[in-house]
C-alpha cells in the first residue's frame, strides 16, 4: 500500500483484475478446526483449501454456522487451527505459538468487526491511534490525517463511540485497522449492523482501499450485495468450501 491515502477516484465499486500477476498471501491446505464443548467435539472447519493472492478482495459467504468466522479467526491468528496448514504471508500459523501469532497479527493484520469493537472510553482519535501504539510505532500525524480524511471522519475524531452513528463507528474501525498498513485486512460482517446507505459507504471505502492501495481484503458476509463488491466470492457450507 502506498504511504499516503488520497481522495477516492471515480467508481470505487469496480476493481481491477490483477489477480493473475499477484503472489499468494494466504494459503491453507486441509485446514481443520475442532471446538470442544464439554466432551463433545464440534468441527467448525473440515479440510479447507483456500488461496488468496496479494491485492485480492475476497468475499466468503455462507449460512450461519458454516465456519466463516472461524476461518477468519484462524487466518487472523486469533485461534490456533486443529489440523492442516495455514500460511499467511509465508508464515505457518500451525507452527507458531500464541505470542508469535500475536506479534504477527500486530504487524500484518487489520480487523474490522460487525460490532465495530471500538474501546468505549476512548475518543475516535485515540481508538485509531492505539493501533499504532500497540504496534510500537511513533504516532504519524501525516498518515493519521490521510486515513481520517479518506474515511471522512475528520470531524468526528474527538467524539467517543457512543456519540457516533453506526456508519461512523465502522469507518473509525476501518481507519484503526488500516492505519498501520497491514498486509491483510480481515472483515467480519462489516455491514451487518448498518443500514443500506452506511453499508454502501463502508463497502465503497473497502473497495477504494483494495483498488487504489492494493489492500488485500478477506470479507465475511452473508449479504449478497456486499459480496458482489469483491473480486471473488467463496462459498462455504458445513465447514468446507463448496464453490470458489
Amino acid at each position: 500500500m502506498g504511504p499516503i491515502f488520497l481522495e477516492a477516484t471515480e467508481d470505487a465499486t469496480k476493481g481491477p483484475d490483477r489477480i493473475g500477476c499477484m503472489e499468494s498471501i494466504i494459503a491453507t491446505e486441509n485446514l481443520s478446526k475442532v471446538y470442544r464443548v464439554g466432551k463433545v467435539e464440534v468441527p467448525a472447519l473440515r479440510g479447507v483449501n483456500f488461496i488468496v493472492q496479494e491485492g485480492e478482495f475476497v468475499a466468503v459467504v455462507g449460512p450461519s454456522g458454516c465456519g466463516k468466522s472461524t476461518l477468519l479467526h484462524v487466518l487472523g491468528g486469533l485461534t490456533r487451527p486443529s489440523g492442516g496448514l495455514v500460511l499467511v504471508d509465508g508464515n505457518d500459523f500451525t507452527r507458531m505459538n500464541d505470542a508469535e501469532r500475536t506479534k504477527f497479527r500486530r504487524h500484518k493484520i487489520g480487523f474490522v468487526f460487525q460490532r465495530y469493537n471500538l474501546l468505549p472510553t476512548l475518543t475516535a482519535r485515540h481508538n485509531i491511534a492505539i493501533a499504532q501504539h500497540i504496534q510500537g510505532d511513533e504516532f504519524n500525524p501525516h498518515r493519521f490525517d490521510s486515513v481520517a480524511g479518506m474515511l471522512g471522519i475528520k470531524d468526528q475524531l474527538d467524539r467517543k463511540p457512543y456519540a457516533l452513528s453506526g456508519g461512523e463507528q465502522q469507518r473509525v474501525a476501518i481507519a484503526r485497522a488500516v492505519l498501520c498498513e497491514p498486509k491483510l485486512l480481515l472483515a467480519d460482517e462489516p455491514t451487518g449492523n448498518l443500514d443500506s446507505e452506511n453499508s454502501q459507504i463502508v463497502l465503497n471505502m473497502m473497495r477504494i482501499l483494495n483498488r487504489d492501495f492494493r489492500q488485500t481484503i478477506v470479507m465475511i458476509t452473508h449479504n449478497p450485495e456486499a459480496a458482489s463488491v469483491a473480486d471473488r466470492i467463496v462459498r462455504m457450507r458445513d465447514g468446507r468450501i463448496v464453490s470458489d
Binding site: R106, F113, I134
Partner: protein, 366 residues
C-alpha cells in the same frame, strides 16, 4: 496513549475508582496512625520519665517497663540505703497507682521534697503543692483535655481529690498525689514501686549502678539512657507483634479491595481486552495496562491516605489532647510502599487472567 486509556477507564467507573482509592487511603491511614499512636505514646511516655531528671531507676524484681503493670512494691527504707551510696545525690520513692475509673491513668504517689531534689520540682502554672492528703496535682495537658481548674474535685480511685495545682507536663505522670495517701489507698504502707536515683554527676551513673547491684542484686536497675533505648516497639515484642498484625490487616484490606476491583474490572472489560488482543496486544501489554491502572489507583489512594491521616491526627489531638500521634516520613514512605505493593499484588492475578483470555471468546463476550 496507554496512560490515556487507563485515565479514561478510571474516570469511566467513578464508584469503583472511589472505593479502590478509599480502601488504599484507609490502609495507609491505618498503618500511619497505628504506628504513629503506639510510637508516639511510647516515646512521649519515655520522655516524661526522662523528665523526672533521675539517672537511675530501681524497681523490684520482674518489674515491667510499663509502670502501670509493676507489682510488689519495695520497702521504702531501701531509699535511705540508696542515698548512702557514693555519688548518689538524691533518691525519690514513687508509688504507682493505676486508675481505671473515668479514664485510664497512671498516678504517681510522690513525696514532694525528695521528688523535688531529683526533678528540680514542679513548675506550677496554677495553684500550688499539696496542702491536704487528698489533694492532687495535674499536668497542663490533662487539665486542658479535661477542662480542669484549681480547686475542682476529681473522682479517682473511688475517692474525691481536690486539685491543688496545675503543673507543667513532663515529670513522669500526669497526676500526682501524696505518697502517704497512695500508700493508704493501696494498702502498701512504707512501700514504693520505684526509686528514682539522681547522681552527683551523670558520669557516675555506671559506678552508682554497680554499687546498687551489689546492694540489691535481685532488683531491676536501669539507667535512664537504657530505659529510653528500651522504650521502642522493637524491644517490646508484644507491641511489635500488635503493630505487625495491624499492618497486616491494613495491607490485607488494600490487597483484597484492589484484587476484587481489578477482578470485576477484567470481567466487565473482557470484550475490550479481546479488542486489544485483536489489535495485536500481547500478554505483557495487557498485564502492563492492568498493573499500571492498579498503580495509579493506589498512588491516588496513598496521597488521599496521607491527607486523611493528617486530618485524622488533627481531629484526634483536638478530641484527646493528651494523645501523641507521631507521624514520620519514614513510616509515611513505608505505608505508601506497602499500599502500592499490596495493590500490585492484588492486581497481579486479575492481570494474568486478563492476559490469558482467549481473544475469540473475549470478542464474543456480551
Amino acid at each position: 496513549m496507554v496512560y490515556r486509556m487507563i485515565f479514561e477507564n478510571i474516570l469511566h467507573r467513578p464508584i469503583r475508582t472511589l472505593v479502590s482509592v478509599l480502601a488504599v487511603a484507609i490502609e495507609v491511614g491505618m498503618v500511619m496512625l497505628v504506628v504513629g499512636m503506639t510510637h508516639g505514646m511510647l516515646h512521649e511516655n519515655a520522655q516524661r520519665v526522662q523528665g523526672v531528671g533521675a539517672d537511675i531507676m530501681v524497681q523490684p524484681p520482674g518489674a515491667s517497663l510499663f509502670f502501670a503493670l509493676t507489682q510488689a512494691p519495695m520497702p521504702i527504707k531501701i531509699g535511705d540505703r540508696l542515698a548512702e551510696i557514693p555519688h548518689v545525690l538524691a533518691v525519690a520513692p514513687v508509688l504507682f497507682l493505676f486508675n481505671a475509673h473515668g479514664g485510664i491513668n497512671l498516678i504517681y504517689g510522690v513525696d514532694l521534697p525528695s521528688f523535688k531534689r531529683v526533678s528540680g520540682g514542679f513548675a506550677y502554672l496554677q495553684g500550688g503543692p499539696f496542702a491536704h492528703p487528698y489533694d492532687i496535682l495535674v499536668d497542663d495537658w490533662y487539665a486542658r483535655a479535661n477542662d480542669i481548674k484549681v480547686g475542682q474535685t476529681l473522682n479517682l480511685l473511688n475517692h474525691e481529690f481536690r486539685v491543688s495545682g496545675i503543673v507543667e507536663h513532663g515529670k513522669g505522670a500526669r497526676l500526682f498525689i501524696p505518697l502517704s495517701t497512695a500508700q493508704d489507698l493501696s494498702g502498701a504502707h512504707d512501700k514504693a514501686s520505684i526509686f528514682f536515683v539522681k547522681c552527683t554527676d551523670p558520669g557516675y551513673t555506671h559506678d552508682a549502678m554497680n554499687s546498687i547491684r551489689q546492694l540489691l542484686p535481685k532488683d531491676e536497675i536501669l539507667s535512664i539512657k537504657e530505659y529510653m533505648s528500651l522504650m521502642t516497639s522493637n524491644d517490646l515484642p508484644a507491641l511489635n507483634a500488635f503493630i505487625t498484625a495491624m499492618i497486616g490487616v491494613a495491607v490485607g484490606i488494600g490487597f483484597l479491595v484492589i484484587f476484587l476491583s481489578m477482578y470485576t474490572t477484567i470481567t466487565e472489560r473482557t470484550r475490550e481486552i479481546g479488542i486489544l488482543k485483536s489489535l495485536g496486544a500481547g500478554k505483557r501489554y495487557i498485564i502492563g495496562v492492568i498493573l499500571r491502572e492498579a498503580s495509579l489507583l493506589s498512588i491516588i489512594g496513598v496521597l488521599a491516605g496521607y491527607g486523611g491521616t493528617w486530618l485524622t491526627r488533627r481531629a484526634l489531638l483536638a478530641a484527646f489532647p493528651t494523645l501523641t500521634v507521631e507521624l514520620t516520613i519514614h513510616w509515611a514512605l513505608w505505608a505508601g510502599l506497602l499500599a502500592i505493593g499490596g495493590s500490585l499484588l492484588g492486581a497481579f492475578y486479575p492481570a494474568v487472567r486478563a492476559a490469558r483470555l482467549d481473544p475469540v471468546d473475549s470478542l464474543a463476550y456480551e
